[in-house]
Amino acid sequence: MKRNSHRTQKIAFFFLFLATLLIVVPVGLILVIIIQKGLPAINWQFLSDIPRQGMRSGGIFPAIIGTVYLVTGAIIFALPIGLLAAIYLSEYSKDNLLNRVIKLAIVNLAGVPSVVYGLFGLALFVVFFKFGASILSGSLTLGIMILPIVITTSREALESVPQSFREVSLSLGASKWQTIRHIVLPNAVPGILTGTILGLGRAAGETAPILFTVAAFYLPQLPNSIFDQAMALPYHLYAISTQIPNVGEKIRYGTAFVLLALVLFMNLVAIIIRYKFRKKKKW
């Protein structure tokens, strides 16, 4: 009996380990392949030059800049609105059917296919508001796409701050808003940043939402204003991989490498900020 349970445990551990391996190995392989094939393409010219000879040589600088603009714009739009909505939902809204439905709807919006957001952005920003295909339209579309992620993770972060802190603060005569501002928010920052990181990564990597709203196939110059079109890394990668024949493998993997590095770099910055906050955390 005892030996038997021991064996069951070993089998269980084996399968748990196998499942973990099945996740880690593909991710590791993707990283290795992209680094192996992409790294040789990386040099100063590749990062700083515009694409040349029908994008078969030259660099990807406009696409990098475009993606940075789009991600920044999306965050500028989504973080404040998402945070305010999260504060309302977690701190002010009453626990009734309507608010439960709203919360559920927001969680589910995170699962809507990104191409739907792309079409929505096309209809609303490009056509209705007449922003045209522009950085503004693309940023707003990406912003709307990542709003559910920002709201949901921020709400969870706010709700994980112990209720007792709120009671203590209120019992000392602080108002509800003061309590949120001085006690709840500072302790929820790491969780909010996590949500922002997830949103950033998604905004940087998506192709469909920018396809109709901003992305240019090829632009010889950098955008001058938020009403200009821009190139972007994911769309550029799509274009050189499927739309243009005979693009060197080095350039394609180099582009993928830059996109990956950009997302990882953003995550790294956020992780460092989060770590600093956590060290300051006093409970």
Binding site: L172, G173, S175, H182
Partner: protein, 248 residues
């Protein structure tokens, strides 16, 4: 002088009645101990006084509660809570430094002068008998203090707002006997300036510090009298049974 005048108070959480027809007074500058088994409504009563029950969406109440003659539902809730301080059952420092914990209430009330804040913080810590232990480490996290020190910090934090009334919700339930004695000493001395309502599970503590003692059972006020009377000649045999430890 009457501090709180409570008339026909009923409290429900959804359909569960927590307090039934409670009418009583809390007098100025007394320590009123409230004893009774768990679920007898003691803490609900206490949290009603500073309207902390309002945070619970299931909370309903009727009846008349007057603080210095004024209906508590007519008083601005932040102002009411500034005048009625509360010390909770567990030491609950805010995730701030020792100094900021004590200064928190005043800062929220809009006091900015650093000199004034430092003075009030020092006084409050002295009144809670904590100053000597923390004066050199004011910028450390409050979580680095021991449990007993944390609870005295919470008392200092409450005093710093300069309330009229102090509510203690089983303040010694997590403390060792020496820390308990220190907190009780502090309470007795604070009586000169403050009205104190003390909810306690420790019958002996009520006997030691209370001027008057109220006995709650299943949401009803069974008996309220001078502490000596409650502990020597209680009128109700349920009170007698509880303080003798026959149930509870």
């Amino acid at each position: 002088m009457v501090k709180f005048e409570i008339t026909d108070l009923n409290i429900w959480f959804d359909s569960t009645q927590a307090l039934k027809d409670v009418s009583m007074q809390v007098l100025a500058n007394e320590i009123l101990s409230i004893i009774g088994p768990s679920n007898s409504g003691k803490t609900t009563f206490l949290r009603m006084l500073n309207r902390l029950n309002d945070l619970n969406p299931r909370f309903k109440m009727n009846g008349d509660v007057r603080f210095d003659g004024e209906d508590i539902s007519n008083i601005d809730v932040e102002l009411l809570r500034r005048r009625i301080g509360m010390v909770f059952a567990l030491p609950l420092p805010l995730p701030l430094s020792i100094f900021d914990n004590v200064a928190y209430g005043m800062k929220m009330a809009g006091i900015k002068s650093k000199k004034h804040l430092a003075q009030v913080v020092e006084n409050a810590l002295k009144h809670a008998y904590l100053w000597e232990e923390v004066k050199d480490r004011m910028n450390e996290s409050a979580f680095k203090l021991s449990g007993g020190q944390q609870q005295r910090l919470c008392i200092a934090r409450t005093l710093a707002v300069e309330p009229d009334v102090l509510l203690f919700d089983e303040p010694c339930s997590g403390l060792d006997p020496i820390s308990t004695a220190k907190v009780e000493d502090a309470m007795v001395k604070l009586k000169e300036k403050y009205t104190i309502v003390l909810v306690t599970n420790n019958v002996k503590q009520a006997a030691r510090v209370g001027d008057r003692t109220a006995f709650f059972l299943s949401g009803e006020l069974i008996e309220l009298d001078k502490t000596e009377k409650i502990f020597t000649v209680p009128q109700d045999k349920r009170t007698d049974g509880y303080i003798r430890g026959k149930f509870g």
